[in-house]
């Protein structure tokens, strides 16, 4: 059973993220970005960010199951969903959104998948939670909440309405 992070209001965090993201994109002169959410939790966060930022390009969604690095160990995730990227990736400024950044393997897989659609001008990574303990040299540009969790603990976003962060032990 999950334990709700009671002091945390996910909506508030996403509000703050939206503000920071707008500033970051402006500072780097990255206009009219294409936002892509990672199934499933990342897509929930992306839907909210996309609306709050009023982005013009439709939201994209990717499922990284075919790009995971552990297929030969655990096989295919049977809940795999189709990826839908609504416009050309070539030359675009991408905002990649995920719920939890941990080892970095999901973000690695997502980047590889995006590049199979084309060569973007830039990718900005926004995550709801950064729980540290990276296994790959990746960082997020926008972080909603930093958590310092021991490795045996898990953090999970449940949703889509309401969005709630839960922690539990493995």
């Amino acid at each position: 059973m999950g334990e709700t992070l009671s002091a945390v209001d996910v909506e508030d965090i996403i509000d703050t993220m939206a503000g920071e993201l707008a500033q970051e994109m402006k500072r780097k002169k990255r206009v009219d970005p294409l936002m892509i959410g990672v199934h499933t939790g990342g897509l929930w966060v992306a839907e909210k960010l996309h609306r709050k930022l009023g982005l013009k390009k439709p939201l994209g969604e990717i499922d990284i199951s075919f790009y995971r690095d552990d297929f030969s160990r655990i096989g295919l995730n049977p809940q795999v969903k189709p990826s839908q990227i609504p416009c050309e990736v070539e030359g675009e400024n991408i905002i990649l959104v995920d719920d939890v950044l941990y080892t970095g393997r999901t973000s690695r897989a997502a980047l590889n998948e995006i590049f199979d659609y084309g060569r973007p001008d830039s990718v900005t990574l926004a995550v709801l939670v950064d729980r540290g303990e990276r296994e790959l040299p990746l960082h997020a540009d926008i972080v909603g909440l930093k958590l310092d969790l021991s490795p045996e603990k898990q953090v999970k976003l449940t949703g889509p309405a309401p969005l709630v962060l839960e922690t539990n032990r493995n």
């Binding site: 499922d63 199951s65 075919f66 790009y67 995971r68 297929f71 030969s72 160990r73 096989g75 295919l76 049977p78 795999v80 969903k81 189709p82 990826s83 839908q84 990736v89 070539e90 590889n112 998948e113 590049f115 199979d116 659609y117 084309g118």
Partner: protein, 336 residues
Amino acid sequence: MSSSKQPASTSFKAPDSSRLQLDEQGRLRHFLTVESLSKDILTEIMDVAESFSSVGHQAVKKVPVLRGKTIVNLFFENSTRTRTTFDLAAKRLSADVINLNIATSATSKGESILDTIRNLEAMHADMFVVRHSDSGAAHFIANNVEPHVSVINAGDGSHAHPTQAMLDMFTIRQVKKDFSNLNVAIIGDILHSRVARSQIQALNTLGVKDIRVIAPRTLLPSDVGSLGAHAYGDLRQGLDNVDVIIMLRLQRERMGSALLPSEHEYFECFGLTEEKLAYAKPDVTVMHPGPINRGVEMDAAVADGAHSVILQQVTNGIAVRMAVMTLTLGHSKVAG
């Protein structure tokens, strides 16, 4: 290499498919027949195929999921379309593919099938895609491979052609969304067709309302009821209120035998024309596994018309084969 020659006419032992193609957890390990597979597994294949459909739209039409795997297409019987789509499916999964046309290769030099398999396993093959003119050939190979190797049946004799059936089911689901209210008619040489057998099994498992087979009496099995389908000798009656028409390719080599009248006569009675299409529902979908004998099974106007999804079937064939390859290799034991 051994001299134990496998005579061309060998019929392999009647297969016990159900246990062979599932692992201890009930997941797909080989894909030999749709017979005895649950609705859940057939649905899983279609769901995963749906996810693979987007790969064809990528600039780089590849996903790395089977990177480093070696897939061997073992075609003991000729095929262009099926082999091409298996080949393309494996390449889109980033696997390495070898195409062996055995009719002109080792077995004609006296090497037995098992010796061929052992040699390919010694080269660290991970999957065999098998087409053979003898029923049970893929089962025979699946019974004899190492634990980490998966076998996919790409058509064996008049027994089964499960990936063709599943790409047809996937196409029907795309067009009609739901199976439960459908009347589906299969037209052609039901007696000799492995495609029809697999289709009927899949349609029954997926809960289609009414399955009909339409053919001259000489091309229907004597026990047609046991197939789980209703037989019609008259095209007009058979097509009444039908949602989906699946045409089978008429094997021209059977033409002129005692089983069949002339091409002309067959077309008169069972060939699909726009006029005859009107007997079915207005939104009827027309399918054909290809290649079409235009003017024998159907008019060009029907094959290229608004009701036809024949090219969609070809595209779907790649996604469905990608799904089956990924599911079976994902569930096979990792090589030690």
